[in-house]
């Protein structure tokens, strides 16, 4: 059953991403001021949206773990956070490429850029903590706390950035945030791309979750054998 769902999702993702890439790379006209490079937006922003949402979902799973003490939720939280960390990395790298082309520098110390990097570092710390603790229950407990702290911190920084008046990084452009500053023709593929990233994230989380569950099982069998 699980394999079938995974297969179905993968096929859906493959179709969606092919169709999306065709639309974005061949169908859309170049943007007036940025030329062809503006297309990086379709890879850059959805990665951030899905990645940051993933950290939030990871926090919810961690919360459920703390409430139930069922290690299954910890495994799920870890997989979600790991995949979100990868998406945040995609966001940082694509943003950097765009910045080099548009601003002439790979990195500008703008609050939005810096906050994403800090968020990435916090959850990279989470992954390091997972490797540093051997006992599964202690690991799950401590990591859940870091996940809650990290997500609250990321949310706090996100709010602070909205208070800062001038930033180098472009502000929100989507129509539901600004009331239509982006053309519909450019916006529709964006939402499809968010869906594609979401599918990708779910597929990867399912695969990682299974790997983690198996490794947990092997670990407990090993403990049993040594006991």
């Amino acid at each position: 059953m699980r394999n079938r769902v995974l297969l179905l999702l993968t096929v859906a993702f493959a179709v969606l991403i092919t169709w999306n890439l065709k639309n974005i790379l061949l169908g859309l006209p170049d943007e007036a001021r940025q030329d062809a490079i503006f297309r990086i937006l379709y890879f850059h922003a959805p990665a951030a949206i899905v990645g940051l949402t993933g950290f939030g979902v990871g926090m919810v799973f961690s919360g459920i773990y703390l409430a139930t003490k069922n290690l299954y939720w910890d495994t799920l939280a870890a997989s979600t956070t790991e995949v979100s960390l990868m998406l945040a990395a995609i966001n940082l790298v694509t943003g950097s490429i765009w910045g080099r082309q548009q601003w002439g520098v790979w990195w500008a110390w703008d609050a939005r850029l810096t906050s994403m990097l800090v968020c990435w570092l916090i959850f990279a710390g989470y992954m390091m903590l997972r490797r540093a603790v051997d006992e599964p229950n202690t690991r799950a407990r401590l990591c859940a706390v870091v996940s809650v702290f990290g997500t609250v911190n990321a949310w706090f920084v996100y709010k602070v950035i909205e208070w800062i008046p001038r930033l180098q990084h472009p502000g929100p452009v989507l129509s539901f945030r600004t009331g239509g500053r982006i053309d519909r023709q450019l916006e529709t593929p964006f939402f499809w791309m968010v869906l594609a990233y979401l599918l990708l994230a779910v597929i990867l989380i399912m695969i990682r979750d299974r790997q983690e569950s198996i490794s947990r099982e092997i670990d407990s069998l090993r403990r049993l054998a040594h006991a």
């Binding site: 710390g125 390091m128 407990r141 911190n153 920084v157």
Partner: protein, 256 residues
Amino acid sequence: MKEELSRKGAELAKKQISFSASSAPLRETVFSFLGQCLTIAQKDLRAEWRTKEALNASLAFSTVILILFSFALDPNPEMMQEFSGGLLWLVFLFAGALVLNRSFAREMQNDCLDALLASPVPPSGLFLGKTLANYALLMTLEFICLAEFGILFNVRWLANVGPLMLVMALGTWGMTVVGTVFSALTVNLRLREVMLPVLVYPMMVPVMMAAMILTTDLLAGTALGPGNMLWVRVLVGFDVIFTLLGVSLIDTVLVG
């Protein structure tokens, strides 16, 4: 000594009974909780005062960093005006990590942490007590560093001393609260000394950024006003949110 300890234990137990009794009025509960926090803080400060290990080490360390800064940057007045806030908080942060690291690590010898957890003090009281002690230590450290900094780099910090104290008080509280939670979190890890900075420095970025910007402004002679009030709000918001989060999660960190 033994008698004194058993007497104190009995007092604490009495406090705990009044703490858990549901009929006790709220005021008494709050006071007994605060009393427990202060007992822990007092204990930590007394232990530190007798050995002075964390304070001496962090003071020596901060002086070394201050001297190294003079090689890294040309300490002329214009440069100092631009960088002083950032430099000062970097010193606080690095030296503070030494104090924070010791906070729970000190309790590992002779299983003192287990004894503390078995005592009638609730984990949140233990946490707040330790935070208070760390706060007092860090503030002491910061005052000494500030004086040293003023002398070595010729920075006039007395002009805006009131607002500067406010920023230091708020910034240090945020730093201490987050630092103490993570000190408790990393205390049992093999790589404790490495994991604490890796986890805690990124967490402290919002409070550090706000404190650095405000301190630079104040040392350059700009008063607190509408232009930088945003950062005071950030400091207060960070302090409130993370104090609440720390108090509510410390049970999970220490006990499970």
